[in-house]
């Protein structure tokens, strides 16, 4: 597994195979093969785009929901995590250390939609003990990408 290649993909999944080859010193065939293998092995799970939804009128709202749950014998948190994952509104599910168990990030059209989703779907699951919903008010940086402000180059155009 080529860490350099993986880091480059992590930075920008759209870098062409040709550029990746030049940047890593591999051939294009080797790069294509490595990527196919990483996808096949499940190391690379998918490619997404970082979108600044706030720029659109039809923006989404996101909320981080803390779930406290009763772990099930043998299954632990797996079963509940699997169930929560099924919803298309759910973007992210993490098992957490500390004050609560599952961190669930939900994305939907309106605050109301998110609130109702939590109230109707998550809070009512048999093993869920409590929920706490934190709405995202502004996204400054996501997946290493800045979402606010232009990063102007303050160096001038030429210096020796």
């Amino acid at each position: 597994m080529n860490m350099k290649l993986l880091n480059l993909l992590d930075e920008n999944a759209r870098t062409s195979v040709e550029d990746l080859a030049v940047m890593t010193g591999l051939t294009t065939a080797e790069v294509a093969q490595e990527i196919a293998k990483m996808e096949h092995d499940g190391l690379v799970r998918g490619y997404k785009t970082v979108i600044d939804w706030e720029r659109l009128d039809s923006a989404y709202v996101s909320a981080l929901i803390e779930l406290k749950v009763t772990p099930q014998p043998d299954l632990g948190f797996e079963e509940i995590a699997e169930r929560v994952m099924q919803y298309s509104e759910v973007e992210t599910v993490y098992l957490m250390s500390g004050g609560y168990d599952l961190c669930v990030i939900v994305k939907d059209r309106t605050f109301q939609d998110v609130a109702m989703f939590v109230a109707k779907e998550l809070a009512t699951m048999p093993t869920v003990l409590s929920t706490a919903t934190h709405f995202v008010l502004r996204r400054y940086k996501e997946l290493d990408v800045k979402l606010c402000g232009e990063c102007a180059d303050d160096r001038g155009k030429i210096s020796l």
């Binding site: 350099k4 480059l8 920008n12 870098t15 550029d19 030049v22 940047m23 890593t24 010193g25 180059d153 160096r155 001038g156 155009k157 030429i158 210096s159 020796l160």
Partner: protein, 391 residues
């Protein structure tokens, strides 16, 4: 009425600010320019280094330091150059903290050069050596390095330039603008020429930490018999992305450094105190940051070298600094004309090789202190420019 003609020092008046200042001004004023013209890192100073500067301010560390620089910083420098280059200098008499590498270069030249003394300057190279030599009353002797020699200084060229009046050799490697490095064997050959002379060496190693391909930088001071005649000059600007902090240093034999510290003492007093605190943090805990930036530079370097070659321009493999120095001879244009036409027609700013000495004719300097997207956008415009010229 005051007569400035009479008043001003003709030696200073004669020095041109920069032969291509006009071109720079045009580029600065143009909109939508994609520049590959900047000689400084795009990375911000790593946060823990900035934090160390801030902390020193919070603790009111805002006074002068020793003229030599804070002792703890000099000790850290001693450890750093030993660890990195196998060099050993006494923190109390052989290490001077300066305002950027430039001040150290000036101080070294002024400490060594007497009026009429010759200073050998390999070119293409950074622009300060020639004017600083002239202002010290010295006579610059230019040795042009060649693409065929990978822009290295050869012992033959050096020998041919030596005269009884030679006082100082400037050794600017890794090199801005060529990206050339001197390997250990190259330095040994230079040392063989110098050993029987009474010529000092100013080794400007500001890009020492930015070399590619696994082989580490070698300082000429580590070659047998060279330490006693060499002043090693380095700094924090390029290595740690700290250009605005203005931190440099010189390491060398005490008899020379004692002169340099006098000039420094009277002209400067001491390097900025805040910056000294930040610099110490950089030396002690900055290795991982440098490794990270180096990997990013290397990725860009490969991309740009490949980009120029793909466009049909000859490009020697730069092994150090953060510049690529491709040849534009195949276009039939001079460096100046190439850069001007490219700027006007495609709004891409490069620096003509001639900005770094006459030997830079036929080449352009390309900085890769830019994001991959920025570099690719510039290469695309350059491709259009070359295609349209051919068509």
């Amino acid at each position: 009425m005051i007569d400035y003609e009479q008043l001003l020092n003709p030696e200073v008046v004669r020095i041109q600010p920069s032969g291509i200042r006009k071109f720079f001004d045009i580029a600065e004023q143009m909109d939508d320019v994609i520049s590959l013209g900047v000689g400084e890192p795009d990375f911000p100073t790593p946060w823990h280094i900035r934090r160390a500067g801030i902390r020193s301010l919070e603790q009111s560390r805002t006074r002068y330091t020793s003229n030599w620089g804070q002792r703890s910083l000099r000790v850290a420098l001693h450890d750093f150059v030993e660890r990195k280059y196998g060099l050993s200098y006494d923190p109390d008499s052989e290490i001077l903290v300066t305002v950027g590498g430039s001040e150290a270069i000036d101080g070294c030249i002024r400490s060594v050069v007497r009026p009429g003394d010759e200073v050998i300057i390999p070119q293409p190279s950074f622009v300060c050596y020639e004017p600083l030599t002239r202002m010290a009353g010295g006579v610059p002797v230019i040795v042009e390095t060649r693409a065929e020699d990978a822009f290295r200084l050869t012992p033959e060229a050096l020998r041919a330039a030596l005269t009884p009046r030679t006082r100082l050799l400037i050794l600017p490697f890794p090199c801005n603008p060529t990206g050339a490095v001197m390997r250990k064997a190259d330095l040994e050959a230079i040392a063989d020429v110098l050993r029987e002379t009474n010529v000092a060496v100013l080794s400007d190693e500001i890009y020492a930490e930015l070399t590619y391909g696994g082989e580490r930088h070698v300082s000429i001071a580590s070659i047998d018999g060279m330490r006693e005649r060499t002043v090693v000059i380095n700094g924090f600007s390029k290595t740690f992305s700290m250009t605005g902090w203005r931190m440099g240093y010189a390491c060398g034999p005490a008899p020379i450094l004692r002169q340099m510290v006098k000039i420094h003492q009277f002209a400067i007093m001491c390097a900025p105190t805040t910056s000294q605190y930040a610099a110490e943090e950089a030396l002690k805990n900055g290795d991982a940051d440098v490794a990270d930036m180096l990997e990013k530079y290397d990725i860009r370097r490969r991309l740009v070298v490949n980009g120029f070659r793909r466009l049909g321009l000859d490009c020697h493999e730069p092994e150090g600094s953060f510049y690529v120095f491709p040849s534009i001879r195949s276009t039939g244009l001079t460096s100046d004309a190439f850069c001007e036409e490219l700027l006007y027609s495609k709004r891409v700013a490069l620096v003509p090789g001639t900005a770094f000495g006459r030997g830079g004719e036929g080449f352009v300097r390309v900085s890769y202190c830019y994001s991959v997207d920025h570099l690719n956008a510039a290469l695309a415009r350059l491709g259009e420019f070359l295609a349209e010229r051919k068509g």
